[in-house]
Amino acid sequence: MSQSPQQTGAVLDVHDMTVAYRRKPVLWDIDLIIDEPGLIGIVGPNGAGKSTLIKAILGLVPMASGRVSVFGGTIRENRKLIGYVPQRESVDWDFPVSAFDAVLMGTYGALGWFKRPSRKQRDWAMECLAKVGMQDLAKRQIGQLSGGQQQRVFLARALAQKARLYFMDEPMAGVDATTERVIFELLRELRDQGCTVLVVHHDLRTVASYFDNVVLLNMRLVASGPVATTFNEDNLRKTYGGRLAILDDAGEAVRAQERSS
């Protein structure tokens, strides 16, 4: 673990983060350092503050206290290195844009003020759509896509950002098998290219097979580290408490992981 992220330029360094809505704290004293690129799952029960953690890191919700740095600089300085997949429910899908238009928006950040996307950006957006297997639906209005397809549009838009560090808020929530597979393969591809991807994930059974590292969260940071050492029954009990059904699931997941390793 590095002492001074400014010098080493850790991928992500969250220090002493507390977030409060009105008077209720949602996240308490979060200290999280991610040194190396990889796939990181953020796991915890409903209301544990998983989305809030991502949003606070990105500056979308204010922190009561804390400091965030990415690649040794502030978020503001390194915006161009960051990609984002928000929750699907966060936008109005009836908005008059096509799947292609939505993906093209991923290139806006690098374009800067006033400039219109040119051939280059358009080709790249199309390539990103193709990466999620949606090139044939490029012209469809986004509201006429299925839930899984909408999720893939969001993912393609994030790919279009050409980022080094991605934040994804439940990209696999309620998606079909095809989409889940497409997403997971893309995540691996991104990791192999040296990117870091933080994914808010809800399905404990797939944590071990999808991610290198896991962050267990429930208002406070319960544990974070490699899946092999961190994703165990003890930590899961600390995260989820005595909720038996979930623990059964988790236990099964842990056992499955132990069998495979």
């Binding site: 844009v97 806006y108 079909d176």
Partner: protein, 409 residues
Amino acid sequence: MGWLSYNTAIVLSGTSLLGAVSGLVGSFAVLRRRALTGDALAHAAFPGLCIAFLVMQRRHLPGLLLGAFISGVFGVVLISGLRRSTRIKEDAAIGIVLSVFYGGGIVLLSIIEQQTTIGSKAGLKSYILGAAAGMVRSDVMLIGSICVVCTLLVLLLYKEFKLVSFDPGFAEVQGWPVLAIDLGLMTMVALTVVIGLPAVGAVMMAAMLIIPAAAARFWTNRLSLMLTLSAIFGTLTGALGTLATTRFSTLPAGPTIILVGAFLFLCSMLFAPARGLIASWRRMREFRAVVVRQRVLAELFHRPDQTFEKLLKRRSWSGQKLQTALHALVDAERVVKRDLKYSLTDGGTEAAKRVVRGIELWKLFVAENPQLTANFTDLDVENIDEVLPPEVVEQLEVMRSSASAGSVA
């Protein structure tokens, strides 16, 4: 200009330009879910106008509009303040600010009317319902310049406005100053509302922003086209409404213009091919007819040579629906009628096989993956190969053949 007097021409160009800019700016307000904020702005502008009049003691239009602009913007700031710092929801905050400001304006108006010392007090009332006929050349110049400024801004910042209207959170992460861009949009709305007050009036101005945009949305799924159409609808609304008021001079300007807009909206809602009611009703009917035809094909595939009466009893479809479906199938040479009995042609058998396969595979898929059914926008039995990945279809085929083998044995 023959039938068009100079005065009418001035008023006509003023209201047309006002309609155009309202349509353009209103589209963003509607898409950004700020339509009611526009309404609050228009009502909240009214007391500012009265205060400006009390301060200046005369009817000086630019001064009045400045007052209107300030109090309108103040009203909107108050709404967002109420929403942020209390538990009052946005709609309630809008309701409070809108009526309190407007009520304050009406009280101020009656105070002004009682002050006999002020000469040209008459006319302030026209800002409630609008008086397009009173427009002079300088008013048109003002509206025209706002129109040009807003159009240029939208052309220049189209990408930014589009992004912030669609997904402000994503825009923020990309580093755009979302608040400033939003403020730019709201300023355009405020300017449009304020220059519209003399012609259309505080009560009706919001409709001028909302109606052309809402009408345009029925015709297209593309933002650029929606903006263009909305501006055109706005222009038509302003122009036709003005012509109606000049033709029948007793009609109030604002309400007449809005009624013309409502007519355009109604036509769009009914007849637009993309999202209009009649078109979607037709598509729904066509889809239902397709489903019935598929069922008939499947039925005749399993049990050939059935009479109409027998077919009717097999399923709970109405005689008329069945009749229509059979007619269509006979016309398409999928089904032949011999001795009052219906059976499939070769082409019909092929089609029926596809349908039966589709139905069975979907049923298997849904039984295997009940949690996923909500994710599919179309479970059309004929396009299962396009919707599902090939290996899943293959797997389903295996399950299907083993199931049918089981039923034979």
